[in-house]
Symmetry: C2
């Protein structure tokens, strides 16, 4: 049977190994496995969220409110924007999917950072669009602008803080960059880790309402999967001008968020204290990773997220290190697929990090 | 900003009004609202499912096992097929979306029944494909074959039992039809309501393993949203040859099913007794709708699902009837959008149906 030609170029995304897979592959007991590979919140989600979801379990049979009014109201209050500026996706991933399908096709060019979130490229391939990458590993906005002028891309993705490196763009510099971009190029500012970034350094803070006030062609992406501790519930969002949101909404499948996920996200926004405590703990624990890297004379990229990227020395090999850790039940992310001899480690709880240092010390 | 031209033809899907919206619009108390509009299981889901989900609520922070091995194993056991023949979607809706994006584009033709599930057309528009419809309201396979020969469609959708009419195709006739279709035309057999259909009449029963044995070009769709009582959790699936599944899988976003939804679906398959009891109750209650229609001298389409379609007389108006019911807190589906002067009513619990008969009696 014939399928669309563009499928020939698509490979399936490889997610961080779930605990279940390690149990199966290595026969390690689930209690002995530590997963620091997917940048989940190691403290889970707020007890208030857990209680709220438990209460509506009998509603699993009922389709969700497809208008998502309660969640939209909560988000628009948080960000001081209007409901018409908001679209909710099954993770911010799905908003990225909407963007590619609405704005790009096989004649389009998409400009992204050399090392960045893998889904931009994957969804670009779904529509057959061409990917243009910078050379710089950090977002270099001068290089972005140069490539923008040369290639005239339909969409530019900026990821700040960036995954999988953890560094972040200076917000003022980004605003200056955005001013130079033509209104027909859509700029996606993916802020999946922004709760961490703006906590650590206000100069990295990107504010959706300010983007809306100044730009016709920018969309801000946020998620409940990271700081809000709801990675398993698949809720993210995009904030932009209504003229853009309206087009993306045409591609939103009905009922794209589960009934329990909507409740979880609403309640998560009512317990920002929990989130802030998690973020504070995250940066306390991160200091130990910096010390560990210094001791081991390994480069660590300054991180504005809930993970660190350790750049190994030339005598070390990231794939071998990850495999060796995996056999001990420690799951971290090998970045060799990004052409980096590096590993990405989610900052876990104190006990999880202790275990990482213990195992990694023996191997480095 | 310019967007893809095909978006111009897309209108957003209008879901059945959720209870929340009626509360807001008419100020009716939630306890006084009866929603018989979205074909949810009025008995909810199994208590075993509810308990299993409650237990893993702390796991909401963790991304789901993207291999979905546990659910795949349970489904392949149920259907006597292999894991490589299976793809899981966020509702069977999402599998429909994969199919359109994998197999169709702006040069494609999609053959569907005149009155059928709205999402086939909506996803066809997402890729700019042309929709060809039969004239017959019931699936007339001779007409389908005639149009197939004339139009050479890339995809044919058969919906059995059909939504929103409730009738079903004779399985033997369907098998004979499928034998006549060329291997490069993909035939989708959407069996979202098959648990009801095969319970009522085994001659309507479509068996995925038999389709797999006989045909290279057929995909079976199933869902947990109807008989299994998990409409709010968004889990459906497609069963086909691996050569087809492999292509669709390229378009599956990672983590498209929530952590809690995977658990709910797995446990639902372990309590088939609950499901069968719900289906038995459904057909007991359906008899009362047949009696009601006879009394009121209204045509009722023989239904193999958990809903009935009442075709009104020319002196009656489905839109006015639905509006009048809505103001009393009774939500049913107006089928005027399908060019039918008819309403679709989900078979509810005894009490919900009592309320429908009481309110509708006063209006018909």
């Amino acid at each position: 049977m014939k399928f669309n030609k563009k499928l020939e170029n698509i490979h399936t995304y490889e997610a961080g190994k779930p605990i279940e897979l390690v149990v199966r592959e290595f026969g390690i007991e689930p209690k002995d496995i530590v997963k620091l590979a997917s940048n989940e919140n190691p403290y889970g989600c707020s007890p208030k969220v857990q209680n709220a979801v438990a209460k509506i379990i009998p509603n699993m049979a009922l389709y969700p409110d497809d208008s998502m009014l309660k969640l939209k109201n909560a988000l628009t209050k948080k960000y001081d924007i209007s409901n018409e500026n908001l679209i909710i996706g099954s993770g911010s991933d799905q908003v990225i999917e909407f963007i590619l399908h609405a704005k790009a096709d096989e004649n389009s060019k998409i400009l992204i950072n050399s090392v960045t979130f893998a889904m931009y490229e994957i969804y670009a391939k779904h529509v057959g669009a061409e990917i243009i990458r910078t050379k710089s590993q950090k977002h270099d906005l001068d290089e972005f602008y140069e490539l923008y002028q040369k290639e005239n891309p339909d969409i530019i993705f900026l990821c700040t803080p960036n995954n999988p490196t953890g560094d972040a763009i200076d917000a003022q510099e980004m605003m200056q960059f955005l001013e130079k971009i033509d209104n027909n190029t859509l700029v996606v500012v993916d802020c999946a880790y922004m709760e961490y970034g703006s906590y650590k350094d206000s100069s990295k803070s990107v504010v959706p309402a300010e983007l809306l006030k100044k730009f016709e062609n920018v969309i801000y992406l946020g998620t409940f999967s990271k700081a809000y501790g709801l990675g398993g519930m698949r809720v993210g969002y995009g904030i932009s001008q209504n003229s853009i949101i309206r087009e993306l909404a045409k591609l939103r499948p009905p009922f794209n968020i589960t009934t329990l996920s909507l409740e979880a996200a609403c309640m998560a926004l009512e317990d920002e204290e929990f989130v802030n405590n998690c973020i504070a703990l995250n940066f306390d624990e991160m200091k130990r990773y910096v010390e560990f890297a210094n001791e081991k004379k390994i480069d660590i990229i300054e991180s504005y997220t809930n993970f660190v990227t350790l750049c190994l020395n030339s005598t070390q090999n990231s794939t071998k290190l990850c495999d060796a850790l995996l056999q001990k039940g420690m799951i971290v992310r090998d970045l060799s697929g990004y052409d980096m001899n590096a590993i990405r480690v989610t900052i876990g709880t104190k006990e999880q990090n202790d275990r990482f240092f213990e195992l990694a010390s023996a191997l480095l």
